[in-house]
Symmetry: C2
């Protein structure tokens, strides 16, 4: 466990973590209290959390920045606008818990990723790998009068890492166990996991994407049932397995790759979905289709756990997929020896986990404790992640 | 004078200041030692400095980012590339003075300004004022393994300031005098000054642009003599005043505005130059033309000093214009009561002053001392400027 090197945590500290993910659904804010226990080990307590949706104009403008050439003035202005929106969300959350802004000790922001290319390319004779999150750190610190930390990924990339994932340090610090091998499984659009063998050292931790998470299920819910997602898996549970489709899905090679590995919407996307359903969509009932996608998702996660981790682990599930109880039941069938629980059962709301993690990363920056796990990101050395703006 | 609040300066510290100005001429690096004297007042000693020119490709790519819509990937990559170039320049300077990188305590980077609009505009219902400097702070800290501070302007703007000028805190800290009213005059493309009345408080300091600096002289040197600038004023000294042209120049209203005021290439540019020379260029000898521009520059600076400051001040001149001895002699004629010296005479190389200033701003950030002068920037409060990345 991580020992506190400095005295900042001698008093409990309140830190707000702010996450804005690539799905552009909005701003996740989590208010977290950090303190040291009697053994000087950092502990946390979640005060509350909240998701504020982006309005359509903001969402579209960020999309525009990601997808097409734009004038630098727009990037500069949206960089500052996002900080105003973060400030609004933070104020909203504080109001909800009736806490004055003056009690807030720090804020950790992920920022909005608009570019991420950790593998790099040659540019004017230099090998350049870069990641870019917008949301002005200095601006937020100035308008709220609170220290703000952000830009957590750049220095890991600068020393040869992928700049991701950053959540494993949180999993290692707070979910590791001496009794169980532990897997922190996050089922978002993509599914990824952190594997923490019992009593392991920090650099024995591994973390990788297992493959698809909710992407196919959400696409099918949208396409076949006109819903954004399959609530509790109620559409899928009514169907049965389509062997043809499952066989096609099993041909996606990513699942069998050895970690470290990562994937994204460049592979698991609408094109692949349409391609898979060619000659199938008109023959089988919608419930069978979404059933098969759900079945495949659980199977592919289980395959990776069985092959690259330990199928008797304690598995702590977070992300939107944790709320799909049919998916979780299939996972349990595929991994009967595992102890599968939701992160909510440990007091960590599935959907707030990343925001909580960025509050923790902010805490580590202030304590000047490195937060990248080199066995996970591939960086050549540990770094103190994040830049710190003072008011 | 500024007192050190923390113990960081109990040992002398070496800080590298890195300036990349809007003229895109290259990277100015200054290596500066900061220490406290017996009264705990911060002092500095310049070890050495160096200018590395940008190569044409880098220069053109930065220009492209400023002038036209570009994909975010380019901005992200140039952001990192600049840090590699800064690292090369710093390494070069350290090698020159035979100092190992491990001796360097911190780096302060201005970054390359690609957008600056402190007055703001309405964006999706928020009043957004923004400034944008590229050059990744985290990346530089990681590749050199040294703490790096940058993004000095954003929080001043976030609290209603212009985010500029930032040099006055340096002038106030190191050039103020109990005996003289002091003017720190910088003659770059534009001429600006910091006026520090004797024994004044920090918020009595004023700072403003007086008008054109070297822009017209450089344009004439280029246009009429095919030189980048008029070395020592040798072309101008051979000419005589063209009253017609001087009368036209005196009609530029900016000179008469009351401070605070700032200007730039949006007013003093090639279009205005061409416009001024219509019906003149073919009639008068080139030396008379460049003479008149030099005369006007000195006159307009002197006018502002006489009108808004004190013509009996000690004037410390820096910037490229300090090296034009004919310009300085005209300034002396216009302000016979003043004591005019070059910053070089005080041990501050004219061309390195801004880089030295950013080393000082980095020092202030580490000591957590506010560096914006609210009477100068117009900010509603003092801020601790700059974000800090640790290796």
């Amino acid at each position: 466990m991580i020992k506190n090197r400095y005295s900042w945590l001698d008093t409990p500290r309140l830190i707000c973590g702010v996450m804005t993910g690539t799905s552009l659904d909005g701003i996740d804010c989590a208010l977290v209290k950090f303190y040291k226990n009697n053994d000087s080990v950092i502990q946390f307590e979640i005060i509350d959390w909240e998701l504020t949706e982006f309005n359509v104009t903001t969402k579209n403008t960020v999309k525009q920045i990601i997808q097409e050439p734009v004038p630098i003035s727009l990037i500069s202005d949206i960089n500052v606008l996002l900080s105003h929106l973060y400030a609004d969300s933070i104020n909203c959350l504080l109001k909800k818990v009736q806490m004055p802004l003056s009690k807030l000790d720090a804020i950790g922001i992920h920022g909005q990723t608009v570019w991420h290319n950790p593998n790099g390319k040659d540019l004017f004779g230099h090998k350049i790998a870069s990641t870019y999150q917008i949301g002005s750190i200095s601006t937020l610190a100035a308008i709220l009068n609170v220290p703000v930390i952000g830009d957590f990924r750049s220095n890991d990339i600068a020393v040869g890492g992928q700049g991701a994932p950053l959540v494993p340090i949180f999993d290692y610090s707070f979910l590791a166990s001496n009794e169980y091998d532990t897997i922190a499984l996050n089922i978002g659009g993509i599914a990824n996991l952190t594997y923490i063998p019992r009593q392991c050292k920090k650099n024995d931790v591994i973390s990788f994407d297992t493959g698809v998470g909710n992407i196919f299920i959400d696409l099918a819910a949208n396409d076949l049932f006109d819903k954004p997602y399959d609530e509790n898996g109620l559409f899928a549970i009514e169907g049965k397995l389509i062997y043809d489709l499952f066989d096609k899905l099993k041909k996606i090679n990513f699942i069998y790759y050895k970690p470290p590995k990562s994937t994204g919407r460049e592979l698991f996307n609408k094109e692949l979905y349409n391609d898979l359903l060619k000659d199938i969509k008109d023959i089988y009932p919608p419930n069978d289709i979404i059933h098969t996608f759900t079945y495949y998702t659980a199977w592919s996660i289980a395959y990776n756990i069985r092959k690259f981790c330990n199928p008797t682990s304690r598995i702590i599930v977070s992300g939107g997929g944790a709320l799909n109880s049919f998916l979780i039941s299939l996972l349990k069938k595929n991994l009967p020896e595992a102890l599968i629980i939701k992160s909510d059962d440990l007091g960590i709301p599935s959907k707030a986990k990343e925001a909580i993690c960025f509050a923790y990363l902010a805490c580590l920056r202030i304590l000047e404790i490195p937060a990248n796990i080199t066995s996970v990101t591939g960086a050549s050395r540990e770094c103190i992640l994040g830049v710190l703006a003072l008011p």
